[in-house]
Symmetry: D2
Subunit: 345 residues, 4 copies
Amino acid sequence: MIKIGILGAAGYTGGELIRLLINHPEAEIVFANSESNAGNLVCDVHEGLMGETDLRFTAEMPFDKVDVVFFCFGHGKSWAFLNEHDIPNNVKIIDMAQDFRIAAPTHDYVYGLPEIHREEIKKCAHLANPGCFATCIQLGLLPLAKAGLLCHDVAVNAITGSTGAGQKPSATTHFSWRNNNMSVYKVFEHQHLHEICQSLNELRPKNAPKVADTLAEKPSEGDITIDFIPYRGDFARGIFCTEVVKFDGEEGSATNPTAEQLSALYTDFYKDAAFTHYCNAAIDLKQVVNTNKALVHVDKFGNKAVITSMIDNLLKGAVGQAVQNMNLMFGIDEKAGLRLKSTAF
Amino acid sequence: MIKIGILGAAGYTGGELIRLLINHPEAEIVFANSESNAGNLVCDVHEGLMGETDLRFTAEMPFDKVDVVFFCFGHGKSWAFLNEHDIPNNVKIIDMAQDFRIAAPTHDYVYGLPEIHREEIKKCAHLANPGCFATCIQLGLLPLAKAGLLCHDVAVNAITGSTGAGQKPSATTHFSWRNNNMSVYKVFEHQHLHEICQSLNELRPKNAPKVADTLAEKPSEGDITIDFIPYRGDFARGIFCTEVVKFDGEEGSATNPTAEQLSALYTDFYKDAAFTHYCNAAIDLKQVVNTNKALVHVDKFGNKAVITSMIDNLLKGAVGQAVQNMNLMFGIDEKAGLRLKSTAF
Amino acid sequence: MIKIGILGAAGYTGGELIRLLINHPEAEIVFANSESNAGNLVCDVHEGLMGETDLRFTAEMPFDKVDVVFFCFGHGKSWAFLNEHDIPNNVKIIDMAQDFRIAAPTHDYVYGLPEIHREEIKKCAHLANPGCFATCIQLGLLPLAKAGLLCHDVAVNAITGSTGAGQKPSATTHFSWRNNNMSVYKVFEHQHLHEICQSLNELRPKNAPKVADTLAEKPSEGDITIDFIPYRGDFARGIFCTEVVKFDGEEGSATNPTAEQLSALYTDFYKDAAFTHYCNAAIDLKQVVNTNKALVHVDKFGNKAVITSMIDNLLKGAVGQAVQNMNLMFGIDEKAGLRLKSTAF
Amino acid sequence: MIKIGILGAAGYTGGELIRLLINHPEAEIVFANSESNAGNLVCDVHEGLMGETDLRFTAEMPFDKVDVVFFCFGHGKSWAFLNEHDIPNNVKIIDMAQDFRIAAPTHDYVYGLPEIHREEIKKCAHLANPGCFATCIQLGLLPLAKAGLLCHDVAVNAITGSTGAGQKPSATTHFSWRNNNMSVYKVFEHQHLHEICQSLNELRPKNAPKVADTLAEKPSEGDITIDFIPYRGDFARGIFCTEVVKFDGEEGSATNPTAEQLSALYTDFYKDAAFTHYCNAAIDLKQVVNTNKALVHVDKFGNKAVITSMIDNLLKGAVGQAVQNMNLMFGIDEKAGLRLKSTAF
C-alpha cells in the first residue's frame, strides 16, 4: 500500500483527491492536512463521502509515515512551503500547482503529462502536475507538434466548468450570474500558455517553427502562437476545447495530411496512452465527465483541421492525472483507482 | 411622471427595480442611491441595462425632489434608516424589507398584497411590500381561507431560485455546489410564516380555525399550522409551490368542494386581479418567469386538494409587485410598466 | 466470474448497467441484446464508454451461456417476454420493470429492496428490482413503519431528474422547456404507490393503521394514505424527497419520539445497510449523485417529523440496486462494483 | 395599428413573435395560422401567455384583412407557400426562413439587417429576416469589413442556446443529454455562411480580399474565409460569439488599428443603431437575454483583435429583429414593442 499525505486537503482538488484515493486498491491516506479544518470529519466538508470514511483533517504533517505527499495548495504556495519545511528525501512529492511546471536548473520536477513523459515520470521523485486547460489543449496538439505540422498560429477556444475557478465564492461563480451565462476571461493571456508552449517546443522537429510564449516574449519572425480564448461555461465539471490548425501544400502531401492520415497519426500517437483516446466520430463533453479520460477528434476542411479535445478538469485536468502519475511513480497499474464510471448524464 | 428615489439601488432588488422603471411610461428615476457605488454607471453594475440608461449611482438622497422612495435594504435596515433620517410627509415610502409587514400600533404601513388590500393600498402613504415565498403561498391559499375551508394543517413545499438568496456570494449560491443540486433550509421555520399567518387569519370567517404562527407561538388546541418546507432550486428566477389541503365531509358539501367548485371559487376570487390568474390546466414555472404574473392551479383527490402556485420571485415576489403597488398608490393603470414579455425558455 | 446477459441493453438503464458491469471485478457481460442496435458498438450508443469496451450489441440471446439475465425493458414487456421465451431454470432473472414488484401467487419474484429483504434476496432466483421513487420514499419511511409510527397521512414531495423520464425525447424532456423549469405530474397518482404501500404494510405492526393504496382502493375508515407529489426537476440525475409525518401524544412518549430517538431509530434500522446511511446533518442531492448510496436525515418540529431522503435514480433507484441485488444473489461482496466516486459537483 | 397575420404560428418563432406583438403599442394580430392547432387557444400552446390573450389559432388566412404577413415556416417552405398562394400586392411579407436571404434576380426581398440596410428596409415590401448566427457574427465583423480590415481568415466560435434547434424534440435537445454538456456541429459548414459572406463582400472596399463562401465555392488565391465552429450550449436562449481577426503592418498604421482606434471604429459604425451597442468593458451573455439588443466588445493583442458579440437568438436573432424591421417598414418608432426587460438572471 502506498502511504499518502495530503496538504491543502480541504480545497476542491484536495476533496477530489480523497474521493479517488478512498477507493484506490493500493493506496492509503495517512494524513489529510488542513489547519482551518483540523479535527473535522472529511465527509462533513467534502460532498459525496458520507458513509465512506471516518477520516478527519489534521493540523499535523507526519512526513515520516508516508511514501508520497500531494501538494493541493494554491499557486505559488508550494514553493513557499518547501522553503519553510523539510520533507524527507525518500518521500515523493506531487505538486498540483504551477510552481514547478516550467523546467529550470533550480528544481528537478518532472512535468507530469504521461502521454509524453511516461518514462521520466516512472523514475522521478518530484512531479509537477499539469494544469487543466494545459492538459486538454496539449492533448489536442501534441501529435501535430511532434509531426512538425504546426506551422501557423493556432486558434484555441476552450470552455471550462465552474470548478476550475476554485472553492471560494465570487461574482463569476455566483449561481445567479453564471447559470445560463457565457463569457470569456484572460483572453490570449492565460497562464497555462507557458507550459503548453514548453511541451510543443519540446516535441517539435528542428525545422518546425518555434511556438512563442506570448506571455513571456514578443514572437519573432517565423514563430507561431497559440491564440487561446478561455470561456466560463455554465456547467461544473469539464473542459471542452477546439483547436484550428492550418496546413500548407497539397492535401495528401507531407505538410498537409488528409483526414485519414490525421486519424492514423493521432491513433498511433495515443496507442499506448492509458486514458487518452482518438475517436473517429464527433465527441461531446459528458463522455468524459467524472472520468480520467481524454477524448480527441479531428475534422479536416480544405487545408485546415479542427481538433476537438476534452477532459474532466478535476480528474485528467488535476487529481486524476496526479493519481495516474503516482501509479507510474510507484510502478503499479497505471489505471489503479481510476476505472471510474462516467456520469454520462 | 412619478418621480422616484431608490435606496439600496446596487443590490439585486434595486437592479431589478431599475430595469422595470427604465421602461415605465409614467415613472422617472430621480436618484439611485448607493454609497459604495456612488459615481458609477448603473449599467456597469446591473446586468442587462447596457445601452438603455446613462443613470449613475449617487450618495445623495434628495427627498424633496421625489414623490416616492423605494427602500431596497436588507431586512432590519429600513427601521434603522427611518430612525436616523427624516423623509418629508408628502413622499410615499415602499419598503421591500420585512420590517413593517406585520401590522402594529407603532406604524401605519399597509401590507401590499393587491389581491386582498387593493383599496387600502390606493389610499396609503407607506407600504410594506410582501415577501416572495409569502406572496406565492398566500396566492395559493387565500381563496380557501376566505371561504373558511382551511380546517387542517397545510403541507406547503416551495422551491425558490438562487436570486432569492441575494447578491452576496456564499457556499449555497456557489455555482459548483448549486448546479444540479437540491436541498432544503429553514424547514418549518421560514420567517415568511409571520405574514402568511397574518393574512390567512385576516380573511378567515369567525368559525374557521385560527392559523397558528408556529414561529411565534405554540399552536393551541384547534389551531391549524402551515407546514412550510423551503427548497433551494437550481435555477435563478422563480418560486414553484404546492399546497396540500384536507377537507371534511362529503365531497360536494359546503365543507368539501368538488374540483369544479374549487375552480369556480379561485376564478371568482381572482376575477379582478391584474396579474393573478387561475388556470384549469397544469402549470409550469417558466410561464411566469420574467413577468409580474402569478398562476394558480388546483387538483382534487378524494378529500384533498393540491394547489400549485407560482411567481417570479424578483417580480411578483418583490419589485414587480412593488411597482404594481406604486401604480395603485398614484392612481394610474395598475399594469403600467409591467406588461413584460415572459422569457418562456 | 458471474456471466451476464442484458436484454433491452440500448436504453438508459441498459447503458448505466453496462457502465457499472464493465468495471465490476466479478462480472462479465456475455451478451448485450438489442435488436435495433445489433452489430453496433456499445460505446457508440452509450455515452461515457469510449475506450473502455469493444462490446457490440447483438440480436442473439444465448441464455445457456449466462448465469443471470437483466431485463431492462419498459414496463409490461417483461411479462410478455417471458410468455414468449424459455429461460433455463438455472439462469437467474433480475427484472428492472414493475411487472413483478407486487407479490402474487402467479410468480415467485422477490421484491429487491435489500434494506428489508436481504435474506430472501440471497436465496432467490427471480428478483423484481424496485422503482426509483419507490426506493427513495420507502427508505425515508420504513423505520417509522416498522416502529408503528405511521399513524396519519404522509405528505411526500419528491423531485426527480430527467433521466427518470427515459431516453425517448418528448415535450417535457426538451431542454428548452425543462431547463430552469419546475412542474408536477401524476399528482397523488404515481404508479410507485403500489409497491410503497406493499412494503409499508408488510413492516407495520398489527395495531398500526393500514396504508391504503389509493390507486387501487378507496381508503377505509382508519386507513392512512401516502400523499405523493412527483416533481420534474431541472437536473439529469437524482431524486430528492421530503416526507412529513405526524405523531400523537406527548413528545418523548412511545408514540411521539424526540429528535434523538428518531436519530437512534433510523441509525439502528440502517446499521447493516451497505449503502443507506442516516445523517444527523442536513443533506443535499449531489452527495449521492453517481453513487449507489441513499442518505436519510430527519428533523423534528413539535409533533411532526420532516424526513429528507435521496438517491441517484439510475443507481440506487435502478441498476445500482440491481447489481447490489445480483451480488447478494451470488453470495459475493455486496459492494462489489459499486464503490463509485460521487460526482460531487 | 398595423394589422398582422402570422403563418406557422405554433412554432418557436411564432410563439415568440406573438409574445412580442401582444404588447406592441401599434400592432394588432389579426390571425395566427396553424392548421394542426386550429381552434386551440394560443396561450395553451405557447408558454408565458396565460392571462394575456384570448387569441386562438386558425386554419384561415384572411390576407385581405392584414397589412403584413410573417412567415414563420421552416426553411424552404416560404418559397413553396408563395408558389401555391396569392398574397395581395399591398400586403408586406416578412420571411423568417432563409429562402430569400441571398439576393437574386428572381426575387425582390431585402436582407433585413438594419445596421446596414435601414434605408432599403424602410422602402421594401418583402423582407428576408437574417439568421441568428448570421446576425451575431456579422455584427462582430461588419465594421472591420467596411474599413477594409478583413485581410486574413477569421476564426469564429459561436455558442447557441437550445431554442436555436427548434421545437421538435431530438437526441441533442434531450435535457438528459444536453444539460451540462458541450459539443460542436456543422463545423465549417453551417448554412449561415452564405448570408455572412454576402454582407461582408457587400461592404468591403474594392481593394480588400474577397470573402469566399466555402460552402459554395473553393477559395481562390487571395480570398479569405470565415472559419466558423458552431457549438451547442447548455442554455436555452442566446448566442455568444468570438471572432479572431489578424491585421498586417505596424500597430497604429492604417492596416493595424490600435485598441482605441478599434473602439472608435465600432462606436461610430453603430452610433445610429437602435439596439446594437459597442461596449468598452467585457460583456457576458445574460446582458442581452430576453432583449432585442446586440452587444459587441473588442480586445487587441499584438496584431490580432478578438471580438466578442452576442444576441438573444430568438429576438435580435429572429423575431425581435423582424419586428424591428416591421417598425421600419411601416415608418413607426424603430423600438416600438421592443423595450424589453432583460432577464438578467
